[in-house]
Symmetry: C5
Subunit: 365 residues, 5 copies
């Protein structure tokens, strides 16, 4: 029941692949399977209704449960799995299935939606550009229950800032709607972030294109290009099941999904499809750039060969002639003639000229 | 809810990708998301029946609403989204859903059809050759209601001229039929314009082919070819959902679609399919031209190498012989012979001839 | 409603693409859209029953209509669309829909079948080798009504000769069966002709293979190969919808289709599938030949380089030695020795031999 | 109704394609369409029950019909179509449809199953290695009726030997079961033979791989590899419809199929799928070997260039120095010095050493 | 009924293909078809309930049957098919169909699930890294009956150690659940082992990438890379039907499958899908590495050519000049001038400098 394709940033053509548990660990055990050190759990609780919003950072599960209010939307966000007991207490309160807990803890799960009646489990992937230029994949698990949304992240730091801001400020529809709208909003912002990652990959490709257009050569170029392509493939493999997840959400017949959410989910679906199309386009672009680079390398080769050939074929015959008249035969009648030396120069010039005309005709320069 | 793959003309292998809003903008807000400056709204109202047609350019939404006539077809065309209030007033009159308004304003939406009962929303893409040789993608949104067609364009300038002319002149069936036939006519002319864009791309490929056939070489050639290919891919990604849109239109069970429109929609569908087939064919052609170009570059290389090899292998042995008799040894018996110098010439001629025969046999020239 | 991918013979990698009407022509107008000059209409009427057959070439539509017999099969063949009135009169008699007439006149329509109850419209494509080696695509439209088959061709000259012969001679089942069997027979012979075109393309590929096997080199080779490949792609795009057309015919529930025709249509379907498979095979063959050609070019290159390298590395060191003893230093003790000159020759021979052994070991010759 | 992709052994990249009848032959005529001379009909009749088996070679159809026994399984095998009358008489007795007879005679038919109620027609393809290394495709048509199996082969010689042996010896279940089990057994052995053909193709590929691994070069190599690939493609096109045929057999609801045959047919289906998978694998292998060969050719090229470059760059500067001191200027102070000649040798050695260090650093040798 | 794609480790691009029986062996015969010598049967019997577990190694089938307990889970593991009688006795007790026995014995069967009511047959493939670096494919057949699980392996040595350990130690849910949970656990651990094999292949690819990044060249590199790719393809062909098998298990409506197993099977399915995705990713990586390698080889070639060209074009003109003044003409006015020799040196230096500037401008160094 262990999963092994981890979310580490790929910096090589071969994506990372590191099992963190021994094959054969008993299934169903609540073990943290992520490949990052479990960060200190930093729990936050945001509660809001149409009129106001409260932000709190309770220190334990019991404190959260005591604070939950039935008539407002309660968003519990858990960063990191350092405090497994808290995760279990929270899930216990919401009567979450042990298998769901395991799915939440297994941070290399494929994106999916599962409807358990009293709650809906959504597993999604946050993709973010890190400051050092690498791309981070982080699993976000979301449990949507009656008036409660619980989100689990692998570590602190997320892309939910604008949502928190909208809750605080009360702009838009967010505060006026229910928990499922919050869940939609979180997914929407996750997908929105795909586009900024895509933009980063796109500008890497643009740089590559400009490099190639400037006829640059770099032994590391192709490796970098292929690494970008690998990143695109990898991201596609993550976003593809996200698309399926959103489709499944659209088809979900659960009374946890509030009325009037369909157009928003349809819109979310359109967004994911656009991200996939952009990924596809970029993969094609990478292949095109490879072709152009190869063609540019060939062109350079041709040019080098031309220079060598022109110089060689120009001087080799002349050197031969000079060699002939450098021979030490006693009887070489030409050597004694007054006109011979200038005549040889003339011959050489004629040959050189002939060669140049030949190359000109072949349009070599 | 923001969309990011913009409609700017692609001039590079990596298609443009510029989000114009911050990720996380609240969904559902009526904000103009296009990447062009909102042009001054230029509204036009065309009203016609079987017998006559009226053209007007009202200055505000109220003026338009006052002019609408129930027993004639009313075509309102809005260029640019500078005057959002007018858009909202118009849509309010037609009881258009806020989400539809947002779709209209978001000019990077995927083509689609949605039936809202009292109106049908069609989002399509106009593709046009600009005078500077680039290709412009512009979203056209069309709202078909009872006797009213509203079209929204991103900016002034469109391909609807022939339609206006036919309304003015009263030729064809257009004036005799209803609003859905007008909507069909507008979509038909949009698709017709794909073919002139395709023609332009086709002639770019034809030029490339002629260049390659003339064994031309140009370091920028491959880059240009791949850019044309990127343009083809990009257009395919736009036309593909247009095909789905037309299929959806054909299946639409709405009483806004007048009787007898099916064969026209089927015809429209055939047209889009033909455009897609042409795109596919051109993509294959681009790949073929690339192969021919690469082969041509190889051929050139071979030819250069042949020239170098022939000249080098012809003269290097001769130069060696000349070198031998240029040595200053005191005891070189050949040097004193009268026949030696002509004999060396003879030897050299023999070697050169032998080489030429060798090359001739290898069919190197 | 205009269609633009014309049926001109493709002689380049980029298939032809010439709109013959202005985009925006009113739909539904009976305008001839083919890209050939409308040939003079040459109408022929063939009438037959089990016992006899009559051949006539009436001069006008009225004459034809007067000659039609209810109890025999009437096959009206129209070559070219020079006389549009006649086409309209004929179609009027058969109560053909205006949209069908338009489809017939639009000679770049995709193959299709449409059942209008009182008649069935089949649009197919005749593909023929022209004497000059090019391939001609011609649209054949076929209207099957009660006892009447009308065929429309773009221009005189077709592949229906054997059918006419079988009607005249009364061999086979043709004369004993009804109009739908005639329609089947015509389609069958159209598909049969695909095979002779395929044969021509196949022998082009065989020639290419033989050329490559003989290690031939020709700068134009790759271009020609790709042109053949383009022709194959183009034909595939034509034959593919023909397959769909035959499938649709098989599924047609029309009482115009006589009983017992199913096995013949199934057979026709098998034929089209075989043609498609042959096209697919040939496309693969073309790619294989390209690979072999590229490999052959590489081999040649390697051989040229080997010759250059052997000759150069053989003589360059020797030339150096000769050069050394051509130096004019006053104090060069070797120069005065009697044995020096033969010793230098020995040294040179040793070096040359060493080189040859080295090349032999590397199996360069 | 003629079919044209013949079963001749493919020895070239372009598979054979020879129509043997004029396009336009009347459909439904019982003409032998194979591309081999109709061999003399060699008919055999094998009759068996649980207890015994009789082998006979009757000379005419009437003799066969007289010998048929209702309570035993009768297997009539017909080799070649030299005696069409006999074929017709046999089929007439079994009330075989004329179209089926035509399918049997047309030896380039696609594999298929057709249920005519009173009999089932199966068309399959026997694929065999010929002693000369080529691969023979032969159509086997099988008519399964009540207690009777008729097999038609194009010519004498088949792979049914083991079946005959099992009938003769009475081993296995064969003699205890009915006609449909015999039909299954024949198909099973046909499919079994695919594997020996596959094995042959596999060892061709293995040889190719070993050749490439030994860095062998042969201008004909790529052509041969592609021919093997063509053979694989061709075989796949034959085996693919065989798979469909077996699937159709499994779904057949005919009382001619005895009870308990399903697991055997499922097994047969698995076999065909495995053959297809092997074909797919081999096609991939061929592409891989091509890549390795191309890489090997490039490596060779690089090595040749290295040798040339090392020798040239080593001696060209030295030759220049020698040339300098071979000049005949009156005033060249170096020439008179005692130390000059050894100094020049020292300079040359230094340059050569420097070059060698340079190449060593670049790891050229 | 013989199957031929054997499970031997692939060490070449062309996967192994060795029929071990003559084509035409009678179907349904219980013959061992694996390609390993049948190892001595080593049977083990593990019996467990919630409270305790017994391990035994009975020596014959009768002993096993005598030991079976109805109220505990009995897991019989058979290593190797040396003792066919025992296999038959065991299967006889469980009333296993002869065709199932044959499937078990045929060790090159495709993975599948078959429900026979009283038992379920699952055929799966164990894939393991051998110590010598090769990959071993071994068929594991599993018969799930009421309280009994029988597993058949081709030879001793498996990956079930952790399962046995969990039974012994009583950790996890294993001991508390029934036979179908054991079957699930065995399949789960088989799939888990795919990941360690994948990891091994992944590190092979990583090594290849590092080699290429270090610009290494090795004539055997491409062959090894393609062999890894072949291994990936081969594994994919094995894992793909395993996925189908698990899907079939999920859909199985058998009362042998205990309640509450669905989430575990779904999890197993997710695992297989992840393995397939990793395989797909690695295949892409292999192609990318090939591209980078080819590019690296081209770069090297370019560099070699550059060195050759720079040295040649630098010295060839100088050598020519030296040659000119080595000529022995009597009348060469320059030779007598005092300034001539230094002037020639100056000229040479100027030419060399010019060349260097030219190369610098072309950015050749």
């Amino acid at each position: 029941m262990s999963r092994r394709i981890k979310g580490r940033p790929a910096r090589s053509i071969v994506p990372p692949f590191n099992p963190t548990v021994e094959a054969g660990a008993p299934p169903g055990a609540a073990i943290y399977l992520g490949d990052r050190e479990p960060a200190d759990a930093a729990v936050s609780l945001i509660q809001y209704g149409p009129d106001d919003a409260t932000f709190a950072t309770p220190s334990c599960a019991e404190e959260i449960l005591a604070m939950l209010e039935e008539d407002r939307v309660n968003w519990i966000n858990v960063n990191g799995f350092g405090d497994l007991d808290m995760v279990k207490t929270l899930c216990g309160y919401l009567r979450v299935d042990p298998l769901s807990i395991e799915d939440v803890l297994n941070t290399s799960h494929r994106p999916k939606v599962e409807d358990f009646g009293r709650y809906v489990l959504v597993i999604a992937k946050m993709i973010r550009n890190l400051p050092d230029g690498s791309i981070e994949y982080e699993q976000v698990s979301l449990i949507l229950a009656r008036n409660v949304v619980v989100t689990f992240q692998e570590q602190p730091g997320d892309c939910f800032g604008p949502i928190r801001e909208r809750i605080r400020a009360g702009t838009g529809k967010l505060r006026k709607r229910g928990a499922s709208y919050l869940a939609y909003g979180l997914l929407d912002i996750i997908v929105d972030n795909y586009f900024s990652v895509l933009e980063g990959l796109g500008s890497r490709l643009e740089e590559a294109e400009q490099f190639v257009d400037a006829a640059g050569t770099d032994p590391a170029f192709m490796g970098n290009l292929q690494r970008t392509k690998t990143e695109l493939s990898r991201m596609r493999r993550i976003v593809w099941p996200v698309r399926e997840t959103v489709t499944a959400l659209q088809r979900l017949e659960s009374d946890l999904i509030e009325e009037g959410l369909e157009p928003f989910l349809r819109d979310l679906h359109d967004n994911v499809v656009q991200a996939l199309e952009a990924l596809e386009t970029y993969r094609e672009s990478a292949a095109s750039i490879r072709d152009v680079y190869n063609s540019s390398v060939s062109n350079r080769m041709n040019e080098i060969m031309k220079v060598l050939t022109i110089i060689s074929t120009l001087f080799i015959p002349l050197t031969f002639i000079a060699g002939v008249y450098g021979m030490n035969f006693v009887h070489m009648p030409e050597l004694d003639q007054r006109w011979a030396y200038p005549a040889v120069w003339g011959l050489m010039a004629a040959i050189a000229l002939g060669m140049l005309v030949f190359f000109k005709r072949k349009r070599w320069f």
